[in-house]
Amino acid sequence: METNTSYDPSFAREVFENVDSGEEIKMCMQCGMCAASCPLREHMDYPPRQIFSMIRAGKRDMVLNANSIMMCTSCYTCQVRCPRGIPVIDVMHGLAHYAISKGILTRKDTAVFGREFWQQIYKTGRIDEKDLSRRYFFADGIITGIKKSLQMARMGIIMLLHGRMKILPEKKIKGIKSLRSMLDKAMQTGKGGSEV
């Protein structure tokens, strides 16, 4: 044991105050159930329980830059097994949202995809899968976009041929205006979103 870190309670406080479900991490007893339940555990820098103990220790950069927080598939396996009843998924999503809002895009593709997803909802109230993919592929600029689309083109054509793609673009829902003002208000008054 060589590294010398100093415990710093300020990050934990920051998380409790600003991250959706952030205060839930207090209940963690470090059993390791979440780590072993995760389908993508092998690819994570740190399993959830370690993220939680790092928050308690005040390792802000390590936590917000951890790929784990954006790698959640939302499968709820860890959550249903957590013996302390911690909504692990909500915490991970909250942390991801918080990190993204701070401009940290450790898993950029996911961040971009999720943001595009949300923006489309904001725009029309619904998701148009085809439009979403297009936006997602081109989010990094035209060149990568073309490359990515080409990779996926065959699949797109197949789906189109099998009638599994909507041809007409999604129309806005009728109440889109009021929905937007609702969402604006929620973003302003809710946790973790105030800084977006």
């Binding site: 044991m1 060589e2 870190t5 100093s6 415990y7 309670p9 370690q50």
Partner: protein, 742 residues
């Protein structure tokens, strides 16, 4: 009493099929001279029992010998009242069920058991309980006025008895009185300690007499008949009591022995100091009197550490969580760090661990490397196991060391005594450390006037606890019980329950003693040892070997028995070389006669004979079990149950060997650290004694292998056939006992 014996042979359960009953009857009437001898196919049935009852009524039978099932069963069916002697001969389990039917050897086995049983019945005398001439007291002395002592006193008072409570401080309360709050059932939140109410209740109860600033100068006598000399405020008062509860509690482990800055850094305190500070008001830093903000608790400060206290003190996890709650209550912004090895919030107490987590306490699994002071604040270097790093926890205002409990019975220094010459480990002056299980080990509290020392023997780490899982109130001094943290480390709620239990035992002791009835484990036994003092040689073996310190000594070395201290194990009877100690229904002579009753065939018959002396609590039931499972073994072994192997007298070895018995087996309980002998030392003493006998055997030119001691547990019945058959092989190899037929 003029004895009139009758023998009843049950032929049910396969006995009749296995044995020639008529010849057994013939043996009884013709050879053994039993005046009445009957058989019945179902003796335990109503008809069978009526047959016996009729003989009692019509024939004046008062000594009933029943040859049938094991004495472990049908005890109630064959109970004909306290004035009748009942002897059970185990023909079912230990003959019919474990031997081939209708064989000569099987029949001989049954015949021997008949001879032995009749001999025993003949030697048994009716019992009368020991009742002292003095008046018995049923009051109970409690030493220690903390939560356990006060609770015990109240529980006793509520049961309509009188309690005498002695406290060394000037007021009752102990640690409970110094506490701010309590965390107890249902472990959701802190509650009031209730100390004030408890003290008031004790002080106001008419059934409780309280002595404060008082100590016990001397306790003499025996259960039911104790006299306690209490020094209170310089006066000496005498109280007669029936039993005693030691509830002298604990002291915190000396934190200055730990390398955690205590005594050097002012803001490092113990959990006891923390509690007292919180109870008085604000939690502040001793260095500058400022209110604390960040507090770090060091769990297992000294506990679970082979260098300090190897055991877990069990209350500290909860105590620290409680004190962390005080800190939060004082300042919700405060941060508590709890550095632990394992969080041990057992049972429903887990709820309070969760509560502490909800409150935001920070838990760090690991161990402290260093505590430093700089700029008025403390920084604590810790190996954080789960982070896998050495970390610094800085800006700490106060470090609380969760120190463990040391029983008040633990001596500051282990006392030394003069050892007999040539003792291993003695120093130049011949002094040696007293063993923890000696009555001379523990720190002064009771001052018993006992030959084996003034205090309760301790078990380990200075706790005078019971060694028995099934019998947690067992102590090695009859009628003296321990309760609370002196017995083992425990939290308040458990100390209260423990006190109630000890009170129960103390009340029970007064009842039993006054009726001349034995206490556990031979509860209800009214037999007691009688000493034929004319033949005593003052060898002191009985006074030394009694596991319960029951026998005192006069200046000349004569034993002074205290029947109400006695547990009736017979260890003294086994110890006595002069055979002067006997019970009315259990004596050296009686067993000797049973041995003599065994018919030993001539050498050329090639039918060896072995006697197995077996502990009646464990080995005997194991043999029954083996028989119930219809296991089989050599028909040449005769079992003699004994109260405890500690009661075997070496003269029996001589009796047996001189009669031509080929081998002796001794089946007793496990001894050593995890001993199972319910008379503490009985089985161990037996083995020691037998160790000496082999020298004698050598001198007689008899092989030492003819006498074998084996440890056996009650569930070891699967081993019975092997044990016996292996021993028989040994005997076969050794050949017959040359003293046969002398």
């Amino acid at each position: 009493m003029e004895k009139k014996a009758a023998l009843y042979i049950c032929t049910g359960c396969g006995i009749g099929d296995a044995l020639d009953i008529d010849s057994l009857k013939e043996l009884a009437t013709d050879d053994l001279g039993v005046p009445i001898c009957k058989d019945h196919p179902f003796l335990c049935g109503a008809e069978g029992v009526d047959l016996i009852k009729k003989d009692i009524q019509d024939e004046g039978v008062n000594t009933i010998i029943i040859a049938g099932c094991s004495g472990r069963v049908n005890y109630d069916v064959f109970n004909f009242g306290p004035d009748k002697i009942v002897e059970r001969i185990n023909l079912r389990e230990q003959v019919a069920w474990c031997q081939p039917p209708k064989e000569e050897d099987t029949q001989m086995l049954a015949e021997d058991y008949l001879r032995m049983g009749c001999s025993k019945a003949n030697d048994t005398e009716p019992l009368e309980p020991y009742i002292a001439e003095e008046e018995y007291s049923k009051d109970i002395l409690i030493v220690g006025g903390g939560v356990a002592g006060m609770t015990a006193a109240l529980e006793i008072a509520k049961a309509g008895r009188k309690a005498i409570l002695v406290e060394k401080e000037d007021k009752l309360g102990g640690f409970l009185g110094k506490m701010k709050k309590l965390i107890t059932m249902p472990y959701k939140d802190l509650s009031d300690t209730g100390a004030e109410d408890l003290i008031k209740e004790v002080n106001e109860n008419d059934n409780i007499k309280v002595y404060t600033s008082a100590t016990v100068a001397k306790i003499s006598g025996s259960p039911g008949l104790f006299t306690a000399e209490i020094s209170a405020d310089g006066n000496s008062v005498q109280e007669r009591v029936g039993s005693v509860i030691q509830a002298t509690g604990w002291t915190p482990y000396d934190a200055s022995k730990l390398n955690l800055g205590y005594g050097k850094i002012k803001d490092v305190i113990t959990n006891v100091e923390m509690e007292e500070m919180a109870a008085k008001g604000k939690i502040t830093r001793p260095s500058d009197g400022k209110e604390v903000k960040n507090v770090l608790f060091v769990q297992c400060a000294g506990s679970r550490d082979p260098e300090h206290l190897p055991y877990c003190s069990s209350y500290c996890c909860l105590a620290s969580l409680k004190q962390a709650a005080y800190v939060k209550e004082q300042n919700p912004e405060a941060v508590n760090y709890i550095v632990y090895k394992d969080m041990r919030t057992v049972g429903q107490a887990e709820d309070f661990y969760r509560k502490a987590q909800e409150d935001g306490d920070v838990f760090i699994r690991g161990s402290i490397v260093n505590i430093n002071e700089n700029g008025g604040k403390l920084s604590v270097e810790t190996d954080d196991e789960l982070l896998g790093e050495r970390v610094n926890i800085e800006e700490i205002d106060l470090v609380v060391l969760a120190v463990g409990m040391v029983p008040t019975s633990q001596p500051d220094q282990i006392p030394r005594i003069q050892a007999p010459e040539g003792t291993e480990g003695a120093d130049e002056e011949g002094m040696i450390e007293v063993m923890p299980d000696s009555g001379f080990f523990a720190k002064s509290a009771l001052n018993l006037e006992y030959r084996q020392g003034p205090e309760l023997p301790t078990l380990k780490y200075g706790f005078p606890d019971s060694h028995f899982i099934c019998f947690p109130y067992e102590t090695r001094r009859t009628g003296i019980y321990t309760a609370g943290c002196v017995r083992r480390p425990m939290e308040v709620v458990k100390a209260k329950e423990d006190a109630a239990g000890a009170a129960m035992k103390a009340i029970q002791c007064c009842e039993a003693s006054s009726q001349g009835v034995a206490l556990h484990p031979r509860a209800g036994d009214i037999s007691y040892p009688e000493f034929n003092m004319q033949r005593c040689t003052q060898c002191k073996r009985c006074t030394e070997e009694c596991p319960f310190g029951a026998i005192n000594e006069d200046e000349k070395g004569n034993p002074l028995p205290n029947p109400t201290r006695c547990r009736r194990c017979g260890v003294c009877m086994g110890a006595c070389p002069e055979r002067i100690i006997s019970f009315k229904n259990y004596s050296v002579g009686m067993i000797g006669n049973m041995i003599k009753a065994i018919e030993v065939p001539e050498e050329d018959e090639e039918k060896p004979r072995v006697i197995a002396f077996v502990c009646e609590n464990d080995a005997y039931p194991a043999i029954d079990m083996a028989a119930i499972k219809r296991m089989q073994w050599s028909p040449y072994v005769r079992f003699i149950p004994v109260r405890c192997l500690g009661s075997i007298n070496l003269v029996w070895v001589a009796d047996a060997m001189s009669k031509g018995i080929d081998g002796l087996l001794f089946l007793g309980c496990r001894h050593g650290d995890d001993y199972q002998c319910h008379f503490i030392k009985g089985s161990e003493l037996a083995e020691t004694r037998l160790g000496k006998v082999s020298e004698t055997l050598d001198r007689l030119a008899l092989e030492a292998e003819r006498v074998k001691f084996l440890e056996i547990g009650i569930t070891d019945y699967n081993r019975i056939p092997t044990i016996i058959n292996e021993f028989m092989e040994t005997i076969d190899e050794l050949g017959p006992n040359p003293y046969k037929g002398w």
